[in-house]
């Protein structure tokens, strides 16, 4: 599949005559198709049809080429042509009967992107997400080499790329950076995995295009699918999981009439406490018995709504995306607060579907507009976004530190609201690209955003703050030969952060000169910081017939977060007391990336090594001190900066054993070491252990009545992780088997796609080093049967 049609049959040599290829593209009724794509490879020349369905491609050297003609809603034509003189190639495309929601760009989009991007990337679509569906969007991507997750519970996880996560990975949805509470490990991404049709994962420093934070990489989600003209349709997705009795549905409806289209989606998910293969959990030194293997109070639900609409014209496109993602989920009740807690088991174990204290709820609203204007060689794109992330943590009021034993009613607040974060983000991007000639392209852009962060609740961890970010970049791309591309870019960023002072709402005893006075302690002072940085990147791609090579060198950076600058409070999940440092400088990292790949029709192998050096990694250092004025005498963790060296690689290989049967291997390894500071010689927190997946996949166009049938077995081997930092524990290696099968069946004329998975087939008890609950010895979920049924439907809107 990867290499279909990539036959590079080169024309004889230079000095050849150049010819013209032209023709007309029509539909089955001989109606002209406007905007169809014609792509000739390896000449890398393309054209669109005009209003009469005509196209013309000039200056083609004599030779044999692959021609691909495609148009949304129609079956593509792929053919081989022999250019020996000027040639006419006419085509009529037939409508694709079932899946009208065809992608806009031709099928080799993935290949083209990989060949042109000098960083290593992975691209997956919605079919992949369904076949590998996990508890959350990131769980579904976890199988990809170099991608891991930090999980909390069964429905929440954070992205980690090559061992870097939190604010070191940027998540982008529809060209706007997703801004939430990335700094916290205790909640996931506010992303609806049913609403995503295309995900690109960039592994490596991508500050150049994405600005601050893109040090480890980028998760970029773009809705690329567009309905064909005069069609309507939609789909119903039904999902179920046995481990946490998950039930979910996602329904979409879309339609397009000429240049206007709209798409609506609603997703509802509900799940119980998840089950782990153990009777009790040791939370630090406390043992908490579990009722019927249920991890107490980890049930949750999610309700998401999306509306997309827009204008599609040849020279102008504008799309609006409006979405609201809401989730509510419980925390493991025994392990939240100042210390491991006794819980009212009668209340908590009465039902495994209810969500009791402690729990969190997050609402993420987004309104985004992206527009593009094409002027032949030049293209201008604009993105505008508004986001509001509203997150609350609720738990029963427990006084800690010198808080009063009962919450004073005079404060007029709900005593059970532990923490509240309210974030408003306004973003704007402007991009300009210009194709100078066949060989050279110029891109530039400006990114900006403004954030207003407010806080609430009885607890304190970070202050309220306002932040402004501005950045601009220029990037040049030059094809130095048919096979090689050089890219070079530079970027400047400026950021300003203003944090607001915060004082306790209760008084604490302060001893000075043997006198004890009760004072309202100031947790954080006013902070006024601004940061600037120049980042750059230099890349090279070489794409030969079967071999390809890429290399990239880049400097990336990250502005310190408000938490790193000004934290001063108890982290209720870690039982730690965290202290920020207003003097931190922006984190800077240099990285060298390479990728080498061999691809033939039945065999492929590739490796993507990297070497990375941070001059001043911001590290939350567990000290030997204790805090006496808040919490319960918790250990103090200070934000510090140190040099960090990291290296690692991913490998992948597959071999087509028989026509439908493929065997493959995916492996990943990361090593991190702090090179200076108090923890010199130690690794970084949440370091993923080395792992490999051995895979067998059987895929056939048709087995009896099942189309696109497949089954696959993943045997995942994970090495022990013995490189740890306090307060982590060493984690043993483990082996897990996951199986999947599925395909499309037709009931009369209705297509139904079914995918089934069994995760942890043998119900193995194992610990995941990068799970948030690893620290309290919660094993990973037991056997889980996951089923997803997708029913697409579509029809034609009559033309008048």
């Amino acid at each position: 599949m990867l290499i279909v049609g990539m036959f590079y049959l080169y024309a004889l040599s230079y000095g050849q005559n150049k010819y013209t290829l032209n023709g007309r593209v029509v539909d089955e009724n001989k109606q002209a198709l406007t905007g169809a794509t014609i792509y000739v490879s390896p000449a890398a020349k393309g054209a669109f049809t005009d209003a009469n369905g005509n196209y013309i491609i000039k200056d083609i050297v004599a030779g044999i080429y692959k021609i691909e003609i495609s148009f949304i809603g129609y079956n593509s034509i792929v053919d081989t042509i022999d250019i020996t003189g000027n040639k006419i190639y006419n085509a009529h495309l037939s409508e694709s009967a079932i899946n009208l929601q065809e992608v806009v760009v031709t099928d080799n989009y993935v290949e083209t992107r990989k060949k042109e991007e000098s960083l290593n990337i992975e691209i997956v679509n919605d079919d992949y997400l369904k076949q590998n569906m996990g508890g959350s969007f990131m769980n579904s991507l976890e199988r990809l080499p170099g991608v891991t997750t930090i999980d909390i519970g069964s429905g929440q996880s954070k992205p980690v790329i090559r061992g870097l996560g939190f604010n070191r990975v940027v998540v982008v949805e529809n060209d706007i950076k997703h801004e939430a509470q990335q700094w916290g490990a205790d909640h996931g991404l506010e992303i609806d995995q049913y609403a995503i049709d295309n995900v690109e994962i960039i592994k490596g420093p991508a500050s150049l295009m994405y600005g601050s934070d893109a040090m480890g990489g980028v998760i970029d989600m773009k809705n690329r699918k567009l309905p064909a003209d005069s069609t309507y349709g939609g789909s119903v997705d039904l999902s179920g999981k046995t481990n946490n009795d998950f039930v979910g549905t996602s329904v979409s409806l879309y339609g397009r009439k000429r240049w206007f289209f709209a798409d609506f989606r609603a997703t509802f998910l509900d799940y119980e406490d998840y089950k782990v293969p153990t009777d009790s959990v040791d939370i630090y030194s406390y043992r908490a018995p579990l009722y019927q293997n249920h991890l107490r109070n980890t049930a949750g639900k999610e309700q998401n709504l999306h509306l997309t609409m827009g204008i599609i014209k040849t020279k102008f496109q504008s799309k609006f995306y409006i979405s609201n993602v809401y989730s509510k989920n419980g925390f493991f009740a025994n392990a939240h607060g100042l210390e491991p807690r006794n819980v009212d088991t009668e209340l908590h174990d009465k039902s495994s579907r209810d969500i009791n204290y402690p729990y969190q709820q997050v609402n993420h609203f987004k309104a985004i507009n992206t527009s593009q204007y094409n002027f032949g060689k030049a293209k201008i794109e604009t993105d505008f976004g508004f986001q509001r992330n509203f997150r609350q943590e609720w738990s029963q009021y427990v006084s800690h530190g010198y808080m009063p034993a009962t919450y004073p009613t005079s404060l007029n607040a709900n005593p059970d609201l532990e923490l509240q974060f309210d974030k408003y983000v306004y973003s704007g991007n402007l991009k300009f690209s210009y194709k100078i000639n066949d060989k050279a392209q110029f891109n530039s852009g400006i990114n900006s955003d403004y954030q207003d962060n407010r806080i609430g609740g009885r607890g304190f961890i970070i202050p309220a703050f306002k932040q402004l970010n501005l950045g601009g970049y220029i990037l040049g791309k030059y094809a130095s030969s048919v096979k090689s591309i050089i890219q070079i870019g530079v970027r400047y960023d400026f950021g300003d952060i203003r944090a607001q002072a915060y004082s306790d709402w209760f008084s604490s005893p302060v001893v000075s000169n043997n006198d004890t006075t009760y004072q309202y302690l100031q947790r954080a002072g006013n902070i006024n910081g601004n940061f600037s940085n120049i980042s750059w990147s230099l890349g090279y791609n070489y794409n030969a017939e079967k071999w390809s090579f890429k290399a990239n060198m880049g400097k990336s950076f990250r502005m310190p977060t408000a938490k790193e600058l000004a934290a001063n409070g108890v982290n209720y999940h870690n039982f730690s007391y965290e202290v920020g440092d207003a003097g931190l400088s922006p984190e800077v990292s240099y990285q060298l990336d390479a990728g080498l790949e061999y691809n033939s029709s039945d065999f492929a192998i590739g490796a993507t090594p990297f070497l990375n050096y941070f001059t001043n990694y911001i590290y939350l250092n567990p000290s030997s001190e204790h805090n006496r004025l808040y919490g319960n005498g918790n250990q103090v963790f200070y934000y510090t900066q140190c040099e960090v060296l990291r290296y690692g690689a991913e490998i992948h290989a597959h071999y087509q054993l028989l026509k439908p049967l493929q065997v493959g291997i995916i492996g990943e390894y990361v090593y991190s070491e702090q090179q200076s500071g108090e923890k010199k010689g130690f690794t970084l927190p949440f370091s993923p252990p080395a792992s490999a997946i051995l895979n067998v996949k059987y895929q056939k166009q048709k087995i009896k009545f099942i189309e696109n049938a497949y089954w696959s077995v993943d045997y995942k081997l994970t090495a022990p992780q013995n490189n740890i930092v306090p307060p982590e524990e060493k984690t043993d290696g483990y082996q897990v088997i996951n199986v999947g099968l599925g395909g499309d069946v037709k009931l009369k004329n209705q297509k139904i796609s079914v995918s089934l998975q069994v995760q942890n087939l043998l119900n193995t008890k194992y610990f995941n080093h990068t799970s948030y609950y690893r620290l309290i010895n919660v094993p990973e979920p037991g056997r889980n049967l996951i089923m997803n049924i997708s029913i697409p439907f579509s029809g034609k809107i009559k033309r008048k």
């Binding site: 204790h626 006496r628 250990q635 010689g681």
Partner: protein
């Protein structure tokens, strides 16, 4: 243009402390242990042994009410708890203490006085939670939580 990475692979073999310190309540005269009783207005001596493979850091003591039975003990023994009640004027103590530098083993001999009242009046007697946290110099930590009673005599 070239970047020089100060990369020395030999360093990997260097010893890293990855062991937690230990709070030992099994020594003779250890006090308090689970289910012990302390008295308001009196002084008791904290007797605990701390050990670490490299060097001890510091420790803290936290005493707070357990009238709602929210805390449980890290010890195997179960103590008899009084019925759940609302706190009126519960006693709280949070204190951190240094351990002399350079020790692998340390036995506390700390006297702590529990006052019998504050400006709000007499402290509530009943179930309390006695929490000990210990760190070593590298930031590894250990915790013990004890169920105790504090009563007026």
């Amino acid at each position: 243009m070239s970047l020089i990475f100060a990369f020395n692979s030999c360093e990997k073999d260097k010893d890293i402390d990855n062991q937690k310190p230990v709070i030992d309540l099994s020594i003779q005269n250890a006090f308090p242990v689970s289910c012990d009783t302390l008295y308001f207005g009196e002084t008791f001596i904290l007797k605990v042994k701390f050990t670490d493979n490299v060097q001890l850091g510091s420790y803290s003591i936290d005493i707070h009410n357990n009238f709602d039975h929210h805390s449980h003990s890290t010890e195997v023994t179960e103590c008899n708890l009084d019925p759940i009640k609302e706190p009126v004027n519960p006693f709280t103590l949070i204190q951190d203490y240094d351990i002399p530098v350079g020790l692998q083993e340390y036995e506390t001999n700390l006297s702590i006085t529990i006052p019998s009242s504050n400006s709000n009046g007499s402290f509530d007697e009943g179930d309390y939670h006695f929490f000990i946290s210990l760190t070593d110099r590298e930031g590894w930590s250990a915790q013990k939580g004890l169920s105790i009673k504090i009563l007026h005599r």
